[in-house]
Symmetry: C2
DNA sequence: CCGGTCATGTAATCGGTTACATGATTCG
DNA sequence: CGAATCATGTAACCGATTACATGACCGG
């Protein structure tokens, strides 16, 4: 039995365009990657149960060996239902901050390593966000989806920028008290 | 068998002061709550295995029925070892953003509800952060820990402020395209 | 034809939460 | 004395990842 979160991600992705389970996973990784993730072990069982419930159907594509999954009318209805309900949020687990909190036992050098790592990661995120933004703005086909896509992207950009600023301020503060 | 992440959180907390398993959970919830969490089902087995390995010992406290757990010299060593190694980071799962991404199927009103919810939560976080900051700054006993504690707090404050600004900007953007 | 990618699925395992069982202590 | 809190632990369950098994397709 699959969870409603996974069903939402799968149905949502299929509402944009039909695709295979494999492509689904790639789309989720590349497009929703900065705030969501699904593994094969979730996707295929979810597709199977969604198909059994009539929310998704297999249509034949170019390759005979691969299934193309498409959302049905009932599936669209189900998607609207799922997107309306709040999702259970997992308790936070930010490993780098946990290590930093006990940074006294790690020393300044080790702490700076953690901070610099977070800094580099945030910079890298900003680069991929810029690429995604360009792609969305160039896309003339999904103009009704674009405003929503841009809001989630904006969130990623703002938190990444906040992380960059935090890392730079922390580097100064930790360097001073060394 | 417990994970190194839980061991790090437990040993780290006990490095500040000895406490019971119950108090440990409260401390983790209240002090590390904005970036970490542990449940009883993790804490007690972790304490048991840490005790078996000699990293933690029970000392008698005021109440005979409750155990006070204290970190040993070997435990401090182990803590330094754990805090040096990077922790496995879980893939992100931000439910609100997932719903917003497919906001076309939800409508503007529903989206604004999500955004306002995130806004209210960030405002509430900022209030608790201010309380924690006051507590750390008033604490004269842990002056060598304080700089590290303040860096993790600063991270929380910056990302919360970024969330507030995002929510306000998104509210304007979504309201305009309604 | 051979290696890499596309593709579908399952089984084992894991990290973690929740619920339950049990009892002592404290305070009004 | 009764209710709330403090306290310790276990068992069942669950969501999710990883690894594995299998094979078609495509390009060089």
């Amino acid at each position: 039995m699959s969870t409603t979160s996974t069903d939402l991600a799968v149905l949502g992705a299929l509402s944009v365009e039909p695709m295979s389970g494999y492509a689904l996973r790639e789309a989720i990784r590349d497009v929703l990657g900065h705030f969501w993730s699904e593994s094969f072990g979730q996707i295929y069982p979810a597709l199977a149960s969604l198909e059994a419930e009539g929310f998704v159907e297999r249509i034949e594509g170019s390759r005979p060996t691969a299934s193309l999954f498409a959302i049905t009318a009932a599936g669209l209805e189900r998607l609207r239902e799922l997107v309306r309900a709040p999702l259970p949020s997992r308790p936070p687990r930010h490993g780098a901050l946990l290590r930093l909190y006990f940074g006294r036992h790690l020393g300044s050098a080790g702490c700076l390593e953690i901070v610099d790592g977070a800094h580099a990661q945030a910079i890298a995120s900003l680069a991929t966000y810029a690429a995604i933004r360009a792609e969305i703005e160039a896309d003339t086909e999904h103009t009704d989806d674009a405003p929503f896509w841009l809001t989630t992207l904006d969130f990623g950009e703002r938190t990444a920028r906040a992380t960059v600023e935090w890392a730079e301020a922390t580097r100064r503060a930790l360097g001073a008290t060394k």
